[in-house]
Symmetry: C2
Subunit: 335 residues, 2 copies
DNA sequence: CTGTTAGCGCTTTCAG
DNA sequence: CTGAAAGCGCTAACAG
């Protein structure tokens, strides 16, 4: 169907190897032939078969991005950054969603052991307590980089934001706005981001001598319906918190929706502070106060780190961590 | 590095071809050997090299999704649908962003002529007036499907929503809420979605005898800054419209932000109606009224159509169009 | 500077 | 039911 090197070389009365070299600007080919070859290639609309090259070179010029969900502001921004970086480098990006299921994360990891990609960027699921599937990839020599949802026990570059610090500041902001009973709603008991954010939140409360009530530090799970019920129970109780610190956007939105149902006035009855990137639009700003992660930059940074280790011949990954700064965006009406 | 068929067959004292067949459940292999082979393969953690298979089979089990931007509610939802469908079928998804630039769309198309993917799903850029690059792909025998931003002159399956009808209904809603001076803010003069939405909007105005002022039917372009200025000028003028019909979410958000700057009260001073999928969150609902497209379903539907034509041996694509229904979500405070 | 040749790892006739 | 061998299209070592 498509024209290949053999045909092309025949038309040019040159050997296959000469043509191959000419097309890849090898220094051992004269300028004259290079020009002639390239012209003909364009004429015949020649495009190298990537599988043949990949097979020969043992590399694919492709990276994988594994994320819980693409339809999520943070992850789609990060994917944007990663894809943009990769495109600049002439690389292709395969995308895989785990839908927050460890089983899928494992299955995808297994699939990628075959060398289909030269490197992997991953943000773990809520459920990922064990990372031996990632370890296996590394053992096969496939470069891996974590971003945002990292596993701390693996020797892999990690790109995160300053979760503890930002949560600390965010909570201080709530306290300064007069909140005395702050609830933390998390997404996982195994994810570092969750635990760091919780720790930052608690530290701020401790510093300002706010009583910590463990019964209003809750964790959601996979079940959306149950989560809503949990949050509803929390917000509908007689000694309801006066603020919610939502670990992620998704939870902030659920909380917001429940406030509407319960006719609670935000921010009078309840303040919502959340990690969220929706506030790139003015719209969310008017509804809650948020901690925004530099998501696009994280994607680019992660890709950039990945390329660094991909380019190394004998790749020995180190567990360095790059921490980017989040920023606190204060709700309009609170300022 | 990785174990291959040769090694595996050596360990089993079988020929390469027998092992290959056993692994792919060929009927000409005895159950006993199949079992033995598969067990060993698992033991040795064997994974077929995809490039070798691809080269041999001339197919990649990979599709490409080409979109203007991934960090966009509609496109990320659609990508979610496409990726989910592909994952179910055991296919991989390559993602490419055009960033609304025709030049990139062309460059990506050229890259994909080499057979890296078995099929392509694409949503065009704002600038795409000419689609010969897509035609070239089709001529190379690569199945293509359009979704949302389609080119009407090509014989390709197209998945769209009922743009005219929904815009008509959305505009009627504005009119019934008392609007008398409605502005349409578009994104392109070549995209069918833009023109169909505009047509629907105008038709509703005509039906209800609302005066159409061409000076407030405007089109944005690539320049974000200029766009904001245009919209600001529109909303700051003495005979400002009492409603804006935003062709896409992006424009609705800009309009919203400008209202804040100008201290315009939404929806009292200005109503905003928009195509938007942000309203999956309660948050946007409280700010504007929107027409929501079934984005996830569109992604799945487009993937599904793509697979249909990919599976056909001698693929002759027809220009069938599948139209999905959008829904009008009315702003809370207006109900 | 150009050509010949040997694979990359897999699938698939064709023989047995 | 199993094995030998050719070849997918490209690259790179080796020769000239």
């Amino acid at each position: 169907m498509s024209v290949n090197l053999k045909e092309l070389s025949k038309k040019l009365n040159l050997s296959i190897s000469t043509v191959s070299r000419a097309l890849r600007d090898s220094s051992e080919i004269s300028e004259a032939t290079k020009k002639r070859v390239k012209k003909k290639a364009r004429e015949l609309n020649y495009h190298a078969n990537p599988f043949a090259s990949n097979l020969r070179n043992q590399k694919s010029k492709t990276i994988a991005v594994i994320i819980p969900a693409i339809a999520n502001t943070f992850f789609s921004l990060a994917t944007n950054g990663a894809e943009s970086f990769a495109q600049e480098k002439g690389y292709h990006v395969l995308i895989y969603q785990t839908h927050e299921e460890l089983a899928r994360e494992i299955s995808i990891s297994k699939h990628l052991q075959n060398g289909r990609v030269d490197g992997i960027m991953i943000s773990l699921t809520k459920e990922t307590f064990d990372t031996s599937h990632i370890k296996e990839l590394m053992d096969k020599g496939i470069p891996v980089v974590f971003f945002d949802r990292v596993a701390e026990n693996l020797q892999v570059p990690k790109i995160t934001t300053d979760d503890f610090e930002s949560a600390f500041k965010g909570t201080e902001h709530l306290i300064k706005s007069g909140c005395k009973r702050i609830s933390f709603i998390g997404i996982s008991e195994v994810l570092a981001i969750n635990n760091n954010r919780l720790a930052g939140c608690l530290a701020a409360m401790q510093k300002h001598k706010i009583k910590i009530d463990k019964s209003i530090l809750i964790t959601c799970d996979e079940d959306r319906i149950k989560n809503k019920q949990k949050i509803k129970k929390l917000l509908n109780s007689t000694n309801r918190p006066d603020a919610v610190f939502a670990c992620v956007e998704e939870i902030a939105i659920s909380s917001y929706e429940i406030c509407e149902e319960l006719k609670l006035n935000i921010p009078k009855d309840l303040k919502i502070m959340s990690y969220s990137n929706l506030n790139t639009s003015a719209i969310l700003k008017s509804a809650l106060t948020s901690i925004t992660q530099p998501a696009y930059e994280m994607g680019r940074e992660a890709a950039s780190e990945l390329f660094k280790i991909m380019y190394k011949k004998d790749y020995v990954s180190v567990g360095s961590t790059i921490v980017l700064k989040s920023s606190l965006i204060v709700r309009n009406s609170t300022k």
